[in-house]
């Protein structure tokens, strides 16, 4: 029912991340209309003001734009979305490398492991 | 808003009051008929060794009837007092006191409804008594015509003042009693942890003060009376009703003011 939200960071930041993920994963396609704030807030079981804050952040980043009369839409700017995807992917990779280096794998061992896994 | 309060108050209380009064009306002919049956010649046939079981129950039936008659009237009052307590002092009071209506309306609506039911219970008790005695053959329908004829013969204007005073005593007395219940709850509910006990104590204190005032007023009236010369017995009774009426009205107003003030400004539930 409600989105997975942790307790140590502001909720609106986590909502921004959740929606960003929905955008890059394709759940929201470029140009799609996004649900009204209230509806989204109820879905996420959060305060509508908090969801509004998240929307404001997303609008500022350009991922979402609002049309006075028809509501809010995902940006058509595919380059922006690709860039976002890339930066998130980079963060995942950095996180992965850090963790797997902690185990003690060398770069070659890492590559072998990845190749096996990707088959 | 007052009308709506009346409507809901009648509905809430009517449920059990009407049931009670209907029960009385139903019980009346049953006990009366049983009494009649058990004292008739038919029953004598069932006598065994000078012992007749039906006759024993005949006494019981009278007791049952009298008990039902008295309890119908007193139970009406008690149930209504409990209704005031429940709806104004217990958790139901959270709803009552947050209604967007003046506190005075709440008290007036409940008070008037209680008055109506009290009067009705007395009327029904009277009707029940008439039915009971009629079934037992104490009077017949032609007695009514004879009774009215006798009434017509009387010079009504002689009795008017007494009748009016009597009516006033009863009416204002009843209203005063009702307002006294409200005032007792209004003051007593503030006793932390024991709102009902506090109300009872408030009522006792109120009654005590009232009886002292009545005693003083009656004594003064008596003396004023003696000083100005003596009259007949009926006049005495009439005159004695006057201080009672005045006290009822004044104390009623005082109780009303206390109730509204306390429930409005010193509510503690």
């Amino acid at each position: 029912m409600s989105w997975e939200l942790t307790s140590d960071r502001p909720i609106y930041i986590q909502l921004v991340e959740h929606i960003k993920f929905d955008i890059i994963s394709g759940r929201y396609k470029p140009g799609d209309k996004i649900e009204p704030v209230r509806e989204l807030a109820i879905k996420a079981s959060v305060n509508p003001n908090t969801m509004q804050k998240a929307m404001a952040v997303l609008e500022q980043s350009g991922l979402i734009y609002s049309n006075r009369t028809s509501g809010r839409f995902i940006t058509d700017d595919e380059e922006l979305i690709t860039a976002l995807k890339a930066s998130i992917a980079e963060a995942y990779c950095r996180d992965f490398i850090t963790k797997i280096r902690q185990i003690g794998y060398s770069n070659d061992e890492i590559r072998d492991n990845l190749n096996n896994y990707l088959i | 808003m007052l009308g709506k309060l009346f409507k809901h108050e009648f509905r809430t209380t009517g449920r059990y009051i009407v049931t009670l009064l209907v029960l009385l009306i139903v019980v009346t002919p049953l006990t009366a008929l049983y009494l009649k049956f058990s004292t008739s010649d038919v029953i004598d046939k069932f006598t065994i060794n000078n012992f007749n079981i039906f006759k024993i129950f005949s006494v019981l039936s009278v007791l049952v009837y009298v008990a039902a008659l008295i309890s119908a009237v007193t139970a009406t009052t008690i149930l209504l007092i409990y209704n005031i307590y429940k709806s104004m002092v217990t958790s139901q009071g959270y709803l009552t006191h947050t209604l967007p209506v003046p506190t005075s309306y709440i008290i007036i609506s409940k008070g008037v409804v209680m008055f109506v039911w009290k009067v009705l219970s007395v009327i029904v008790a009277f009707i029940s008594l008439m039915i009971f005695t009629y079934i037992l053959g104490v009077w017949h329908f032609d007695d009514i015509a004879a009774f009215i004829k006798e009434l017509m013969k009387l010079n009504l204007s002689d009795y008017m003042p007494s009748m009016i005073l009597l009516a006033a005593t009863l009416i204002f007395g009843t209203i005063q009693k009702i307002l006294m219940y409200f005032a007792s709850f209004a003051v007593g509910h503030r006793m932390n942890g024991h709102p009902f006990l506090g109300s009872v104590i408030a009522y006792i204190i109120g009654s005590f003060i009232l009886s002292i005032i009545s005693a003083i007023a009656n004594t003064i009236t008596n003396f004023a009376f003696i000083y100005t010369g003596s009259y007949g017995l009926t006049d005495t009774i009439d005159i004695m009703m006057i201080p009672a009426i005045i006290i009822s009205i004044v104390s009623g107003v005082v109780f009303y003011i206390i109730s509204v003030y306390m429930f409005k400004n010193k509510l503690n539930i």
């Binding site: 305060n47 908090t50 | 139901q92 959270y94």
Partner: protein, 232 residues
């Protein structure tokens, strides 16, 4: 613009016990506010004062700039934490009662919510389970189009599924012109729907911040902060 709710040095004493001590704050419209504190911290006292069920020892409470009275009773909806409904009434009669006295009562909304819970309108309060009674009380309260809703422990003693229902009902009824004040000690359940937090400690207003401020400044959730503040 008069604030929706304002408390000015609000104090309430019961004999020698100080239930609320010099509490001052304002509440704007369009907020969902948590009134948080352990039992007997003064939360219920504050809510009762807002509703005119208690009178202040000193200080004042103002709703839309007015002292509690007939007008404020129309614009404030109170959900007590106990059963307050008339036992013998059935749902239909309760709805008639509410719509009779509250001009801003939305009958359709009430029936809609009851239907979704499969509560029959002929059911008497007496015959209801505790959970159903609580839901009916909530529905009746939230069907009023009030400016301020005061919910006293709406989810205490309620199973988790009902808790979700109650919270989503609250969210569904949120409107930018009104505010909802939720008094509770079950903070982790309500934290994510709150805008602001009023933390009451021994009758004093200890913290008045937004949820985000608390998370950003203290790097912990409101629930964790509460546990820290009220550690036994």
């Amino acid at each position: 613009m008069t604030p929706l709710l304002e408390c000015r040095t609000l104090t309430k004493k019961y004999g020698n016990t100080l239930a609320l001590n010099n509490v001052s704050f304002t509440l704007e419209r369009g907020r969902i506010v948590g009134l948080l504190g352990p039992n007997a911290s003064g939360k219920t006292t504050l809510i009762k004062l807002i509703n005119g069920l208690l009178t202040p020892t000193s200080g004042e409470v103002l709703i839309n700039g007015m002292r509690p009275g007939i007008e404020s009773k129309l614009s404030v909806a109170y959900l007590p934490d106990t059963m307050f409904l008339n036992d013998w009434m059935n749902v239909k009669q309760l709805i008639n009662y509410y719509s009779d006295f509250y001009s801003n009562f939305d009958v359709d909304k009430a029936y809609d919510m009851l239907k979704r819970l499969n509560i029959d309108e002929k059911m008497r309060v007496k015959a209801m389970s505790k959970g159903t009674k609580e839901k009916v009380q909530l529905i009746l309260t939230m069907s009023r189009n009030a400016d301020l809703y005061c919910l006293d422990e709406p989810i205490g003693g309620v199973d988790p599924a009902s808790r979700d229902y109650i919270l989503s009902t609250i969210l569904n009824n949120y409107n930018e012109n009104g505010s909802i004040l939720i008094s509770t000690h079950l903070i982790s359940d309500v934290e994510q729907i709150l805008d602001d937090v009023l933390m009451i400690r021994f009758g004093c207003l200890y913290i008045h911040k937004t949820v985000d401020e608390i998370r950003e400044e203290k790097h912990m959730s409101v629930d964790e902060l509460f546990r820290e503040v009220f550690r036994c």
